[in-house]
């Protein structure tokens, strides 16, 4: 028979004001196994904890129930206290009589019996509590950052500066990401390359950082502290040691293909660096475009390369490394608006997306920095910007606000006016959203100083007519329909999750929302953590966000990683699943629903009719198990139990509440 001690906290008047402590004590004395009951004004205080410790010694208690606030508040405090008195911490049980009782009731006559029931349930469970030991795990002091955009660069730099080794995996030939595609940044109109390039160089040269460009993560196994990762470094067909980055190869290369970096508006060579400031400045050969790989002849690049760095025989490499923590910073894509037939994107060269239009401003962009129409090369005099194309659209797009479009449209309208002084911009908007330091002022400047006409309404349809685009819209404030003979139309399309985000999520073991953006562990209090310990997220892979917010989140994720790596050992989860293999029928549904791959089949032998019989059952790997309980739910015969929350314990609680009304 266990010897249970029950301690009831007043929490000042928080509990005592609504729960009759005297009556509760009286009732608790009668619970099975209870040998000692006490109360205190603030049990979480030093004096309160001492009271518990002393009672454990004096009354030889082997189970402790505290009737206090939520275990989320002080379970750790009281576990520590009982440990100091020589008990296993898992022999403590918390009855939450504050959040679950006193705070949600007013009537002391009704709250008191409920508090008593909760205490009785906790005592019934405590009687069945077993001592548990959490496994400990050594921490590999190396971090992995997936994605080399501004989020990945910032996170890697912060981790490296704190003294830890960090690898950055980037699938493109160069780091830089979306920010490298931008001309200028709002609201200060800094040149994007001017502020990004130094960071790219800094991260590349940092002694604690390894850049693995043109590489992709293939497999992630293990758990916090010890993630075993396979990374595929794709063959560049260029020897990075020999290459001097002189650029002769891509000057001479005869094969052309649309440039991803230029959103397909310009061509690049089959051997290429994506953009002039690329880091590392080492070209790659695109096998699909290369004449040698496609047809077996050419090899001009190899002939022309001064240091003879071209190596057609190069193979993809698999790198296997162990990491203590991972940051996912894989960025975002632009929605393709082709399914908005009324806007005619893809049917007419002068209807562009925001990012495509952005490239027209760039000196190394498809038009050499001249803002002209792609149809006839003439500068556009009337440009219509349409906001919320695919954003805030539950019918054909995304229900959310893409957050950056109001600002970049204002920026592009200003830049347009600077490049083409007699151009007139029209912005069709539903709401202008400019929350951010200096943002509202910036947008107002566009409207007031740059002659940008803001029309509060939407565009119904664009009709291409001879050399212009007839835009049919409306201004809801005046109640007038509007027709504009535009030279160019720019669609502020929705920012969406990367097409392969679900795949990446599966690979690293984190989940996404219904739009495929990665989920943070808590929308307010754990914004960079995920539900998988040791994996963090930063930047627009979580939700659309602008550069300042991305950088802030990247630094936050880096701090979390540094905190983790600074520990030598991590305490694992004590409350893990366990299987009664004798009763396990081996249906394996627990294996199917386990999110952490902690359950696997195993063959056992058992006696049957005088002989032995082999059969399949399951076993749980306690270091992988997070104690989520999915397996215990799916096990029809209750053969899997969660330690600390066994079926028996839960039923004992239910019985304690129901049976003794």
């Amino acid at each position: 028979m266990p010897r249970i001690g029950i301690f009831i906290c007043h929490c000042g008047s928080n509990i005592a004001g609504t729960v009759d402590i005297e009556k509760s004590i009286e009732a608790a004395r009668g619970f099975p196994g209870v040998v000692h009951v006490d109360e205190y004004r603030y049990l979480c205080s030093e004096l309160g904890q001492d009271l518990i410790k002393k009672a454990i010694e004096e009354h030889n208690l082997d189970r402790v129930v505290v009737g206090t606030c939520s275990p989320r508040m002080h379970e750790v405090t009281f576990r520590k206290a009982v440990t100091e008195a020589g008990l296993n911490p898992y022999l403590l049980e918390v009855a939450n009589i504050r959040e679950h009782c006193s705070w949600v009731h007013k009537d002391i006559e009704k709250a008191t019996p409920k508090a008593i029931a909760l205490l009785r349930a906790a005592a019934a469970k405590a009687a069945l509590n077993d001592p548990l030991v959490a496994p400990s795990v050594e921490v590999e002091k190396r971090a992995l950052v997936i994605g080399g955009g501004i989020a990945g660069i910032q996170a890697a730099l912060d981790i490296a500066e704190a003294g830890y080794i960090v690898d950055v995996v980037e699938r493109e030939p160069s780091i830089g990401g979306r920010m490298a595609q931008l001309e200028k940044t709002f609201p200060t109109l800094d040149c994007s390359a001017c502020i990004l390039t130094p960071k790219m160089v800094e991260v590349a040269q940092h002694p604690n950082v390894s850049l693995l460009t043109y590489s992709e993560v293939e497999e992630v196994k293990g758990f916090v502290g010890q993630f075993d990762v396979k990374i595929k470094q794709k063959a560049r067909y260029v020897d990075p040691v020999k290459c001097t980055g002189c650029g002769i190869c891509y000057e001479k290369c005869p094969a052309k293909t649309p440039s991803e970096f230029e959103m397909g508006l310009a061509k690049r060579k089959a051997i290429y660096v994506p953009f002039p400031q690329a880091v590392p400045n080492i070209p790659v050969i695109d096998r699909d475009a290369c004449l040698y790989f496609r047809k077996g002849r050419c090899q001009i690049c190899a002939q022309e390369c001064p240091p003879q760095a071209i190596d057609y025989e190069q193979q993809d490499q698999i790198i296997e490394r162990r990491y203590g923590a991972i940051i996912v910073a894989t960025g975002f894509d632009q929605m393709n608006p082709s399914h908005y037939g009324e806007y005619g994107y893809g049917q007419h060269p002068d209807i562009l997306t925001g990012l495509e239009f952005e490239r027209l401003f760039n000196a190394s962009g498809p038009t050499g920095g001249k803002v002209v129409r792609l149809s006839d090369g003439k500068p556009p005099k009337k440009v219509v910007f349409i906001q919320c194309v695919g954003s805030r659209d539950k019918a054909r797009g995304m229900n959310y606000c893409s957050k950056i479009c109001c600002m970049y449209t204002a920026k592009q309208a200003i830049l347009l006016k600077e490049k083409v002084p007699d151009a007139k911009s029209y912005v069709f908007y539903i709401d202008v959203r400019t929350a951010g330091k200096g943002y509202e002022e910036f947008q107002r400047r566009a409207a007031e100083e740059y002659d940008v006409a803001y029309l509060r309404g939407q565009v119904g349809k664009i009709f291409p007519e001879s050399d212009h685009l007839m835009v049919h819209g409306v201004d809801s404030l005046s109640g007038k329909t509007i027709e504009i003979k535009a030279d160019m139309v720019v669609l502020a399309v929705a920012s969406v999750a990367r097409a392969d985000a679900p795949e990446v999520g599966r690979l690293v073991g984190i989940n996404s929302d219904s739009y495929n953006f990665f989920n943070e562990a808590h929308p307010k209090l754990k914004p960079v953590e995920t539900h998988t310990a040791g994996i963090f997220i930063a930047g627009a892979c979580q939700a659309p966000k602008d550069i300042p917010e991305t950088v802030a989140q990247a630094s936050a994720a880096a701090v979390k990683v540094v905190g983790l790596l600074s520990k030598d050992m991590l305490q694992g989860e004590a409350c893990t699943a366990e299987v009664n293999q004798a009763e396990c029928s081996g249906c394996l549904y627990c294996e199917a629903v386990c999110p952490y791959s902690a359950i696997s089949p195993v063959e056992i032998e058992e006696r049957y009719h005088g002989g032995t019989l082999k059969r399949t059952v399951v076993e749980v790997n306690p270091t992988l198990c997070h104690g989520c309980g999915s397996c215990t739910v799916v096990c029809r015969s209750g053969t899997i139990n969660l330690k600390g929350f066994s079926n028996e314990q839960i039923l004992a609680e239910v019985d304690a509440i129901c049976l003794q009304r």
């Binding site: 037939g341 049917q347 009709f463 007519e465």
Partner: protein, 275 residues
């Protein structure tokens, strides 16, 4: 290929030439169109109010009469009403029970409901049709005019891309015509507003015709008698060469070298096959 055929009110009257030419083409193509034994007007417009079950009686009776066989119509409006009535019968059990109980018929949304254009595209195939073209419409600059009812709501109609349809252009291409694409081809002509607000229909029609003319069209095709009426009657006198409006089936029959005649919306008749 065997289909039940629902003509609808106008095809036995003013739009007789649409029926005649389509039936002639179908016969030549081996498409069997068997007119339903008894049919009533579909109601011309689909009732948009949930409790307007009375207006569903006629289309549901028609759907039930097809007894699960594919049901074809020629008129955009008929097709629209039948297709949407079928979708409602599939989706809304309550409405289905009420309507079928009242009609004393068994119907639970089965059977394909097709526009004749879909039969040509999906069942016969334009490739196959090409073989049957005897007098290609060479040099004829024709634009397609879709209007609203064939395309929208696209989730129900599932006829073609609602903003960038191609079926009629593909047909015209098959018939050997020079296809002209007019940006206003999916804009509404004003529909029944010509009954009460002729001015409104005139505005919409003017835009459609101007756009087609600017794009270089000499003629338009449509699949809807009301569209044709509006396009022909509500266009304003602007001194420019009027644009001819045909039913798609008239040009189909002509290109197939079948005899037939076109009935203008004003009732005047002209030979088409001999041109």
């Amino acid at each position: 290929m065997r289909y039940r055929y629902f003509p609808g009110c106008t095809l036995k009257g003013q739009a007789k030439s649409m029926e005649d030419t389509a039936m002639a083409a179908a016969a030549a193509l081996g498409i069997e169109l068997i007119e339903l034994d008894e049919w009533q007007c579909c109601g011309a417009v689909y009732p948009l109010y949930e409790d307007e079950l009375i207006s569903l009686l006629s289309p549901v009776r028609t759907l039930a009469a097809a007894a699960g066989e594919p049901l074809v119509s020629l008129c955009s409006a008929c097709h629209h009403v039948l297709k949407r009535a079928q979708e409602l019968m599939q989706r809304n059990q309550d409405a289905r029970h009420k309507v079928t109980d009242f009609l004393e018929v068994e119907y639970s949304g089965e059977g394909r409901v097709l526009h004749f254009l879909e039969v040509l595209r999906d069942d016969l195939g334009f490739d196959k049709l090409t073989e049957m073209i005897k007098k290609p419409l060479e040099g004829r600059k024709v634009a397609a005019y879709y209007g609203c009812l064939l395309l929208r709501p696209s989730k129900v109609m599932q006829f073609d891309d609602p903003e960038n349809p191609t079926i009629m252009e593909d047909l015209l291409k098959t018939l050997g015509a020079e296809v002209v694409k007019s940006p206003y081809r999916t804009e509404c002509c004003g529909a029944y507003l010509s009954v009460t607000e002729e001015g409104v229909a005139s505005d919409t029609v003017a835009r459609i015709i101007d756009s087609a003319r600017q794009a270089g069209a000499e003629a338009l095709i449509t699949a809807c008698p009301l569209c044709r009426y509006n396009l022909e009657n509500c266009s304003r006198e602007d001194g420019k060469e009027p644009i001819k409006v045909y039913y798609f089936s008239e040009l189909l029959a002509e290109a197939m070298g079948l005899p037939g005649e076109s009935t203008g919306a004003d009732g005047s008749k002209e030979e088409v096959a001999q041109r």
